[in-house]
Amino acid sequence: MNRVIIALISGMLFGAGLVLSEMVNPIKVQSFLDLFGNWDPSLALVMGGAVAVTLISSRFILQRQTPIFADRFYMAMTTNIDSRLVTGAILFGIGWGLSGYCPGPGLVNAMINPNEAIIFIPALIIGGWIGQKFSA
């Protein structure tokens, strides 16, 4: 039960961060990616702020043998950079640029711009399902 409450709080922080930072504004995301056009650098602060926290906190967290409420740390075991990783990242980047939505902001937009979310979210789920077929 403790772990479910932690997950709920973690999700709330994440959702609040996405809205506060305006990551949920796809026009702003596309402007951030428009490096060679009318570039809007402000979203670099989102990534910078988030990574600063995870870089510092991870050092301390991983000094523990186990997490506070769980028996071990669940991380990806693979370390090799293979064609699946590269292909996946290329496809994801193309999709991200096409709309300005990555998964988190895409989901939160169900409450902000449902006219777009009603297309993006089902397509995201179908895409994930197709990807799953290549992952089994």
């Binding site: 990551m23 998964p103 409450m111």
Partner: protein, 139 residues
């Protein structure tokens, strides 16, 4: 340009970082949205594995809802075809690449995972090229 950067973007980023740190420190889990979503939808999970993922996604919506309404103008009339292609590409790409902006970009880089650093550089590059092409083609 740089002095006009919105401080809210930094605060929002810090909240996202704290979210990831909390989930890792207490539950030992990576706050990767795409992985959490796909595991919930496509894998047979035990009660706990289902419940924490569901709680995270409910929290994501509740936390976002708490700060609504947004003060930016909503995009209108954007191509439905582009939205659909985008969703498909993001879905397939994040599934076979095992992560998105959160899992690779925020959590993975924080852990100095080589795979995540490479993935983030590639998807940022692909996103930049895609937006540049859209602008050149005036879409």
């Amino acid at each position: 340009m740089l002095e006009n950067l919105p401080i809210e973007a930094l605060y929002g980023g810090i909240l996202i970082g704290l979210s990831a740190a909390l989930l890792l420190a207490f539950n030992g889990r990576i706050a990767g949205i795409s992985g959490i979503l796909y595991n919930l939808l496509f894998n047979n999970l035990g009660d706990y594995d289902r419940n924490w993922r569901l709680a995270f996604l409910i929290g994501l919506l509740v936390g976002g809802y708490a700060l609504l309404p947004v003060d930016f103008a909503l995009r209108e009339g954007y191509s439905g075809l582009l939205l659909a292609l985008s969703g498909l590409a993001v879905g397939i790409g994040t599934r076979i690449g095992n992560g998105c902006t959160s899992g690779h970009g925020v959590c993975g880089i924080g852990l100095l995972a080589g795979r995540s650093i490479v993935a983030t550089l590639i998807f940022m590059g692909a996103g930049i090229i895609t937006v540049t092409l859209l602008r050149i083609m005036s879409i």
